[in-house]
């Protein structure tokens, strides 16, 4: 969805489980946690706080 990145909760190299919050974004004045679709290691974070994002944009890569 369209919105703005608020916080990055996990750093590159960190291990995440499925449904862990990776990024918090803001859309329509509401904070929305974006969770990991699957468990793994964060390989790349493609956004920074304050950045505006579009629908279907890749925010992070998890391996």
């Amino acid at each position: 969805m369209v919105g703005k990145i608020l916080k990055i909760e996990k750093q590159v190299g960190e291990h995440v489980d499925e449904d862990d919050v990776v990024i918090v974004m803001e859309a329509m004045k509401m904070e929305i946690p974006v969770v990991a679709p699957a468990g793994g290691t964060v390989k790349e974070i493609k956004v920074a706080p304050g950045q505006a994002v579009e629908a279907e944009q890749v925010l992070a890569v998890i391996e």
Partner: protein, 382 residues
């Protein structure tokens, strides 16, 4: 000298002794509204001026709602003339992006379904012996849209304006509490976890966005001329936004204009909450029926969402039906929060926003239709 002093002091206490029990009670009610607005953050932009207006009007002997009074001046000029709510509609139009709706026109049906509660409540209020015009004002609380409720009640039942608008605004701020239990009761766990893909990102052309408000104004106003001012003002605001060439007017509409009118409108609504006019059993009935109206809207919206879910083979999460009531954008946020509670990977916000924008238009059109039907029945004069 002594007696002059006593007389002087009497002049100071005369206000205290003329304070009636009802007025004291209403001042307490007003303080509760202020508390809810300031400390709890429930619609503070409205509750603060409403609460303060209610204190002002219940001060004995000050007579601010009397002829030539401070509140009366704005009430006659802005509320009785129906001007304030219409000016707010211009601001709402300027703030609303109808693009999600144009991208997914199916969803507008949810916005229509979310208005059924209005008509059911209308019948209920009539059955309870409300005067026809009063019943309309009560039912319109179900629109879950403050300015619509204010517009309709100031037109037909100005004596109920205080009760109707307080009900409308307080239930709107309670949407996050009222809706979830109904949403849960009417859906299965499996339905609540349905993930809806990213809203189709096929961009809507600028032309379509500009043509939309013009076409809606023309067709909806011809269909329901009584509600034309409602629709026309929302769409005018939207045209200011989408035309892209009058940013100054658009910015003024969504900021300064809306802020000034909200302040004055809030004070006036508070001003209708005079003890002897507000403390009636009718007010209590209005509050109860208004609550029922919002529950019914939510229920019908969710049930309609379920129907759409079945028809699309499980592609639509029925929770978004709850956003078909107007309460923009609160109910869309409620849907997002509920959906993510059951499935963390579920992001319903944008879909819910479409339904919510549909509800926004839906409630205005529902009110317009109601006005035109009543006129057709000869209940309201032309």
């Amino acid at each position: 000298m002594d007696s002059a002093l006593v007389n002087g002091l009497q002049g100071l206490v005369v206000g205290v002794v003329s304070l009636s029990l009802g007025q004291a009670f209403m001042i307490a009610v007003a303080c509760v509204l202020l508390y809810l607005g300031i400390a709890k953050g429930y619609e503070p932009l409205l509750l603060v001026p409403i609460g303060f207006g209610a204190i002002m009007v219940n001060i004995p002997l000050a007579d601010m709602m009397g002829q030539g009074g401070f509140l009366r001046f704005f009430y006659d000029g802005g509320v009785r003339s129906e001007i304030f709510p219409l000016l707010i509609f211009i601001g709402i139009g300027a703030m609303t992006d109808f693009a999600p709706l144009l991208q997914n026109p199916k969803i507008i049906l949810l916005g229509a379904a979310g208005q059924f509660g209005i008509f059911i409540t209308l019948l209920l209020a009539l059955a309870l012996g409300f005067d026809k015009l009063d019943a309309v004002a009560v039912a319109v609380i179900g629109a879950c849209d403050g300015p619509t409720a204010i517009y309709v009640s100031s037109k037909f039942a100005p004596h109920m304006l205080g009760a109707v608008s307080v009900a409308a605004y307080s239930y709107m701020s309670l949407v996050p509490l009222i809706q979830p239990p109904i949403m849960r009761a009417l859906t299965t766990e499996k339905e609540r976890t349905i993930v809806m893909g990213a809203a189709k990102s096929a961009p809507i052309s600028k032309t379509a966005k500009i043509v939309f408000p013009i076409v809606v104004t023309i067709f909806a106003s011809i269909l329901a001329p009584k509600g034309a001012p409602l629709i026309a003002t929302v769409m005018l605001g939207n045209l200011l936004r989408e035309s892209g060439c009058v940013d100054r007017l658009k910015n003024c509409s969504e900021n300064e204009l809306t802020n000034i009118v909200t302040l004055l409108l809030g004070l006036c609504i508070g001003g209708t909450m005079e003890a002897d006019k507000f403390l009636k059993t009718q007010t209590l009935l209005v509050l109860v029926l208004g609550f029922i109206a919002i529950c019914l809207d939510t229920a019908v919206g969710v049930l309609f969402g379920k129907a759409m879910c079945a028809l699309t083979g499980g592609k639509i999460n029925p929770l978004i039906g709850a956003a078909g009531i107007s309460a923009f954008p609160m109910s869309a946020r409620v849907v997002q929060a509920e959906g993510q509670k059951y499935n963390k990977k579920s992001y319903l916000l944008m879909h819910a926003m479409s339904a919510n924008a549909g509800g926004q238009i839906g409630s205005v059109i529902a009110a317009a239709v109601m006005l035109s039907v009543l006129q057709g029945m000869g209940i309201v004069g032309g």
